[in-house]
Subunit: 350 residues, 2 copies
Amino acid sequence: MNICVSKYYFMDIRKLAKKLNLSITTVSRALGGYSDVSETTRKKVIKYAKKYKYSPNPNASSLASGKSNTLGFVIPLYGLNSNTLNQASFFEFIAGMSTKIHSENIQFFMMFANNEKEEKNAYEKLIHVQKVNKIILHNIKIKDSRIEMLKKNKIKFVAWGRTQGLNNYSWVDLDNEESAKVIMKYLIEKNHRHIAYANIEENYNFAFQRKQGYLSSLKKNKIKFNENYYISIKNEDPDQSASAIKKMLNKYSEITAIICSTEYSAVGAIKACNQLNKKIGKDISIITFDGPVVSTIANPSLTAITHERKNLGQKAIEILTDMDKNNKTYTYLAKANIIDRGSVCKLKKK
Amino acid sequence: MNICVSKYYFMDIRKLAKKLNLSITTVSRALGGYSDVSETTRKKVIKYAKKYKYSPNPNASSLASGKSNTLGFVIPLYGLNSNTLNQASFFEFIAGMSTKIHSENIQFFMMFANNEKEEKNAYEKLIHVQKVNKIILHNIKIKDSRIEMLKKNKIKFVAWGRTQGLNNYSWVDLDNEESAKVIMKYLIEKNHRHIAYANIEENYNFAFQRKQGYLSSLKKNKIKFNENYYISIKNEDPDQSASAIKKMLNKYSEITAIICSTEYSAVGAIKACNQLNKKIGKDISIITFDGPVVSTIANPSLTAITHERKNLGQKAIEILTDMDKNNKTYTYLAKANIIDRGSVCKLKKK
DNA sequence: ATTGACAACCAAAACGTTTTGGTAAAACAT
DNA sequence: ATGTTTTACCAAAACGTTTTGGTTGTCAAT
């Protein structure tokens, strides 16, 4: 009654070669997809490899080839650990990756970083000690020196997020600017004209992009940007948001809708409205970016625009495998959909 | 202007041995801590290894020794991906680990699992393909066949959580029963006697343990267990909780306090009270287990008992390194503290 | 002086692959 | 018929360690 050991009766390439009456070289090259093996032989090799559950020893293989077929990934704990919302998007991303990884037989090597210095160090270790040849670059800064570093080392990578300016590398990202426009269209169709925007500080790239979409939609609809309707909070702290929003709503009572750039500001908005006894979805409309947590936890729930984050992870892996084949760079923008939870009301046309 | 490559000018054990005028064997054994190397030699070796930033090629080392000094860890996405609250505790755990991993120079190998079958498979791959020699066993079931499997393969492991019954292996866990008792003491001191308990289904081990604490505290204080005050919800769905709690409060208006076994049931309780127009912290008291999310997002915030989850991760690594030295098993129970957020009121003594 | 134990070192084998630099046979071109 | 190219295969080296099975020299006990 051996639960597991029996399943992996040990089969190395030598035994496999002997069983097949082939040389080790041929077996290796058959499985490696080299062209100096006839198709009939290759099929036989693959069939037997499957039958005997042969899987090459990854250490031997990495050692011999100088590459490890391992995907490096650094988890920036310092950005995640205290931020429940980022955590959710993180898990959605790796869940997306995992669907592809399984089929592509890639392996995974993770490291942790508790601050920026550790983060950079981790990437260097991944490359020079672990010898990973693929990397998911996460937690992109507006300007990011890691990109040059990876290029110099000729490591294939996909960035999750973009730097500001020219992005001449492969990346996947949310279509932040576009989704802000979608939100604006949604509000304007419901006849909102005095639309406030609660942001976190703009040196987060996504926050900057979202604001751009807001501004360009205003312009397109010939609404003048009113800077009193715009809030920028340093930390992702709902209480700070709440007090700023409260002040704003008190002073500018003509505001009928608030766009919240993160879930934290959304929670702030809810608190502010509760304190002012404004009924959400009636006296005031609120719409937020993202919202996995708000949707289940916050009270009341909020209408939100959500991105297909799972696609991001999937695409990242797809791109990496495509990059193996040809040396192009690829990009992917995740689209977003509005999920109506009743926190936005339709105003009468004036 | 080389950002990174220069930092790791390549130094292997051969070059190091040549520089030191020693054999490769001696260098290896000096760094490995073997006793057939004199202390003076060892010091010299270590000094130079540091100076030249030598770090052994992990693939070569694993290949030669048959062990990889790598810690295996399977992320059960199927339990995490949709559950924001588990995510938070997950990150707290790995953040805890990361503080120790850095200092102990352990490496990390992660796999993902989207269901129980994949999960078990992942552990087998970790052992037989990746050749990890240490494992953090996560997502423990009440009865868990993986434990036998790991024992049979002589893999050192620490379980995060416990099976029911005899636990003759190393584990770290929350002190669930004790913290339920702490909560009960807290409520009873505030003169609550009609205390309801909103649980999720008891075949989660932690839910079972927490209920035990509740029951034994009742007994100790000579309060008879009233099964009408006890709710057990299948899924972690706030709305299901809400409707059950609402029904209960309507029928048994003598209830003055609700203990929520998870944050989800806490959100349910908040919703129920709002719908019944009962003011939390005044008309009714609510206290919840955990609460990283509730504390920032839920409205109002709730008094909660929180465990030092970061310690769990730290201890897990500590235990693994201790187990390397001597073959004992270790256990650790994380203590909990009540954080008062005003949702529990003091009743007048009758 | 001889023996045994011990300390400190080392050469070579082993780990399981990939890669290099071939060879033999078959196919094709002249 | 001969030279050339192509196809299909392989032996051996290499990857950078750890481990095995020693050797040599020193010291204490006899």
